[in-house]
């Protein structure tokens, strides 16, 4: 399945501006269209003057800037308005932020995914601000009868230097709002050396409310007359309700309604269970606790369907078997791998595997919906509001324009809230009952009705020449999918390193059909591929008896630009080996890599690099393996190249640190599937990293003359292989299968 409205291109690797412009026509869908800056004016009033869809100026000079994208913890509610405020030329202390509602006409593209907020908005939102500034300048020029070229701006005011005159934006707002807005492409942008807001650390705009516990999140929404809903689904993915004791539930305390909703498996345009309603039992009560109590009495006969035969053990056994057979398809086939392997001085062979993973946002999935008279209002913690609109409209037979979607803050996203399952459930329950409802999943619902980071299996074979240089590389990748191709987020592209860096390469794939839903988890595809490829690469370096970091530098070779061959999601940006070399050298120097032999016995350093979402990341992990076979992650060093400008340094560092800690958590986590259902149910068996396990993370940015790119995801993939490589350095045990099992790392 795919997420209908977050373009796969965005969820995978982000797009360069070049790629974006070209790709928009390919992915279509009305989301990745050209940037709109409609001229929305308010009548002159004390409420202030709207210069465009993003900027409103009050008479007292307070500027309200609209934050267009959903805030899921990645900091866009702060970072995107910084871009506008910079070019508008106002003081940040006079800026107030307002969250936009979902409005594709005004704010597209309006989603959180693919680490795309920075690259997609870097220039367009600065132009929004600069257009506002230009309107202020022209209003002042008209007022004074002087040429605009004689005027300067700063701190929310226009100055005529030669006469000493000054008007504040507040004073100019009414006149400015009557002017035709300039063409955004025509406005002049600041020289980066004149930036006053971009490049400074700006605290999260909602943080003062967060630390006081103010209601900001989807789960906090309350609307008059609201009831509370639970939706119980078949534990086996895709299962159907045969019958349920809903009549018995209706007499329980506080229960207002209990009923079966039928899924619309065949809905036209639906691409999978995350994009449509699936069968379930709704319980609506006066409080969520009473609904949860009633659920304890729920008895359902389910038709579990074919997926009941699925298990991760079956997947693993089937993958091992398929990996030794002829593949279903080739992702890369260059040179003559068989001949090169036959003549190689040394051949290495290894199997790598990683498990399914859940998202486990700390705020469980929830949504509030109010249906009345053919119109629906929704309050959604979502990464993907326009997909919510599409799915709800299709499922409930509503006109898209009759659905209003308010964007709440989300308690984490990680890709999970790109799906519309929980939103369409809330909408359907409200429509059925005719009252506003807040649907809230419990933790078991959330873990067991997720879509998962797909498990993967890699059978590697590589040949080295007499100097240890890599001459041939083969991978047979076995992944969830069908004869038609891979499941969502379960594949790889032809740029996967060392593709393009080895003369003979085969990257083949086979698919295992599965009813387990899969989809993007933070750094999709990359979060598994990095582990397998960068760990096996480490094995090659050791076989060659070379420094693993230097071995990577040598493989990258001289600084040069390589064309992308990955057109799965439209054109991708080129790969700059110099940028990757730069971060590898930086992390080597910052981590003390070259002095690692002085570490005590049982302690080691590992490294890895990975390119995703247009970001170049190299990382070093130091880990200590104890006599009891447990590993402690001592420290992580990150070196990153995300272009010329770190827009909000405090947010950037926080994202990179969090991604590394998330990645370390992933390395210890697993979802098991048995009889078509998820085994894990809560944080006792699906463990997330805790304070006492989280290492210090040092982050270094290498600024290069390239457009700024995103930070939500690309710091994550390399930390996992860097950790596994550190464990090998510490104790000699090579980890080829995730998760890492504490207590099993006996020193070799």
């Amino acid at each position: 399945m795919t997420m209908s409205a977050i373009p796969e291109a965005a969820t995978k690797s982000g797009l360069s501006r070049r790629g974006f412009l070209k790709a928009s026509a390919l992915v279509g869908g009305g989301l990745l269209l050209e940037f709109h800056v409609p001229n929305v004016r308010a009548a002159a009033s004390a409420k202030g003057e709207a210069l465009n869809a993003y900027i409103k100026v009050m008479p007292d000079g307070i500027v309200t800037i609209t934050a267009k994208n959903p805030e899921i913890g990645q900091g866009v509610k702060t970072m995107l308005p910084m871009l506008i405020a910079e070019e508008l030329d106002v003081d940040w202390t006079n800026v107030r932020i307002e969250q936009a509602i979902a409005d594709g006409a005004k704010y597209a593209p309006q989603f959180a995914g693919g680490s795309t907020a920075a690259p997609l908005n870097w220039e367009p939102l600065r132009r929004v601000g600069a257009a506002g500034r230009e309107m202020m300048v022209r209003a002042a020029a008209n007022a004074w009868g002087v040429p605009a070229s004689e005027l300067r701006t700063g701190s929310g005011a226009v100055m005529h230097v030669s006469s000493g005159r000054k008007l504040t934006y507040g004073e100019l707002a009414a006149a400015a709002a009557t002017l035709p807005p300039p063409e955004p492409s025509s406005v002049r942008l600041k020289d980066p050396k004149d930036f006053k807001i971009i490049g400074t650390s700006v605290r999260g705009v909602d943080s003062p409310l967060v630390v006081q516990g103010k209601p900001l999140f989807g789960i906090d929404v309350a609307v008059p007359g609201m009831k509370y809903a639970i939706y119980a689904k078949c534990p086996v993915f895709g299962g159907k309700v045969v019958k349920a004791n809903v009549d018995a539930l209706k007499s329980l305390p506080g229960v207002r309604a209990a009923f079966v909703l039928r899924g619309d498996a065949g809905a036209a345009g639906s691409t999978g269970p995350l994009d449509r309603l699936v069968d379930g039992v709704a319980i609506v009560a006066d409080s969520w606790w009473l609904a949860a109590q009633a659920r304890e009495q729920l008895e359902v006969e389910w038709d579990e369907g074919d997926t009941a035969r699925d298990s991760d053990a079956r997947f693993a056994a089937e993958a091992a078997k398929l990996s030794r057979q002829a593949p279903a398809t080739y992702i890369v086939k260059s040179g003559d791998v068989d001949t090169a392997l036959a003549s190689a001085a040394r051949v290495l062979e290894a199997d790598y595997a990683y498990p399914f993973l859940a998202h486990a946002t700390l705020e469980p999935q929830n949504c509030t919906a109010s249906y009345a008279g053919g119109k629906l209002e929704v309050w959604a913690p979502t990464q993907n509001p326009e997909s919510n609109r599409t799915v709800i409209a299709r499922t409930l037979g509503l006109a898209p324009q009759d659905i209003t979607i308010h964007l709440t803050r989300s308690g984490g996203g990680f890709g999970r809230r790109g799906a519309s399952d929980y939103a369409v459930e809330a909408a359907a329950i409200s429509k059925h009952t005719g009252v506003p409802v807040k649907l809230l999943w419990n933790r078991a619902d959330d873990i067991q009705h997720d879509f998962y980071r797909p498990a993967g299996f890699h059978h590697f074979k590589a040949g080295l020449d007499g100097h240890g240089n890599l001459v041939a590389f083969r991978d047979h990748f076995v992944t969830p999918g069908s004869g038609d191709g891979p499941a969502s987020s379960a594949f790889a592209g032809p740029d996967e390193f060392p593709s393009r860096f080895v003369p003979h390469m085969e990257f083949a794939a086979s698919f295992i059909p599965s009813g387990v839903p899969t989809g993007p988890l933070r750094a999709p595809e990359s979060n598994g591929l990095a582990f397998a490829f960068q760990s096996f690469l480490d094995e090659l370096a050791h076989a060659a008896n070379r420094d693993p970091l230097q071995y990577r530098l040598d493989l990258l070779g001289e600084p040069r630009i390589l064309d992308s061959k990955d057109d799965r999601y439209g054109p991708q940006p080129d790969f700059n080996t110099g940028r990757m070399r730069g971060v590898l050298e930086l992390v080597r120097d910052k981590s003390g890599w070259d002095a690692r032999r002085k570490l005590p016995p049982g302690t080691g350093m590992g490294t890895a690099f990975y390119y995703s979402h247009m970001g170049y990341f190299a990382e070093v992990v130091q880990a200590t393996v104890g006599a009891d076979g447990t590993v402690k992650v001592d420290k992580v060093w990150i070196a990153a190249d995300v272009g010329s400008q770190i827009i909000n340094p405090t947010g950037a560092e926080n994202q990179a640190q969090g991604a590394a800690i998330d990645g370390i958590g992933q390395a210890f986590a697993r979802i098991n599937i048995q009889n078509g259902r998820t085994v894990q149910s809560n944080f006792h068996d699906y463990a997330l990293l805790r304070m006492n396990q989280a290492p210090p993370v040092e982050v270094h940015f290498r600024r290069t003359d390239n457009p700024p790119t995103g930070l939500g995801e690309p710091a994550l993939p390399p930390v996992i292989p860097a950790l596994c490589n550190a464990i090998h350095a510490a104790c000699g045990k090579r980890l080829r299968r995730l998760p890492i099992e504490q207590g099993t790392l006996a020193r070799a």
């Binding site: 899921i72 913890g73 990645q74 900091g75 605290r203 999260g204 909602d206 943080s207 967060v210 630390v211 006081q212 516990g213 103010k214 209601p215 900001l216 999140f217 789960i219 906090d220 309350a222 509370y228 305390p253 409080s287 606790w289 109590q293 486990a360 946002t361 700390l362 469980p364 803050r409 989300s410 308690g411 984490g412 996203g413 809230l440 419990n442 933790r443 005590p600 130091q622 200590t624 402690k632 001592d634 405090t650 947010g651 926080n654 994202q655 640190q657 969090g658 991604a659 800690i661 998330d662 809560n682 944080f683 006792h684 997330l688 990293l689 805790r690 304070m691 006492n692 210090p696 993370v697």
Partner: protein
């Protein structure tokens, strides 16, 4: 059953099933939505409140068990000297990513600093290990606790010396 609860220094009356967890009384009856639901099994700490000063998981605490106690939530913790310092430190260090766990983190951190004015890194680990941050802001939570305590913000756990 009727209960008169003392929440953030105010007397609040509710009529509930005695087994109702305090979490849902706070959130849905008293409209104090700062205390968060994460797991329902005392595993994540998002629902941490103070009951007579002791950090307590509201998701597994029946309302009947706290009817005579003094309850402090994130909405009231800023009125205490240490709670206010902890909130200020959270902002100074810019801890927050999604923010969903932070009410619970602040409640646990305030309880720690109330009984231990100068916690070591090991003390912080022990007191905070019950609070999950899915975004991984642990580095900054640790720094903010030290800042609130007036301690140097350096992490002393960097592993074996070289």
């Amino acid at each position: 059953m009727k209960f008169t609860l003392n929440v953030n220094g105010e007397s609040r009356s509710v009529d509930m099933d005695p087994q109702t967890p305090l979490l849902w009384v706070l959130r849905d009856e008293l409209d104090l939505k700062g205390t968060k639901f994460g797991c329902g099994m005392s595993l994540c700490g998002a629902c941490t409140v103070h009951v007579d000063g002791t950090p307590t998981r509201a998701c597994v605490t029946p309302v009947s068990a706290v009817a005579k106690a003094s309850i402090t939530t994130i909405e009231g913790i800023g009125a205490t000297a240490i709670g206010g310092k902890v909130q200020a430190a959270w902002l100074d260090v810019d801890v927050v990513q999604c923010g969903y766990c932070q009410a619970g983190q602040i409640m646990s951190a305030t309880a720690l600093l109330t009984r231990n004015a100068a916690p070591s890194d090991a003390d912080i680990d022990a007191a905070m290990a019950g609070n999950i941050c899915r975004c991984g802001t642990y580095t900054r939570i640790r720094a903010a606790i030290k800042r609130a305590a007036g301690l140097p913000m350096t992490d002393t756990r960097e592993g074996p010396p070289r």
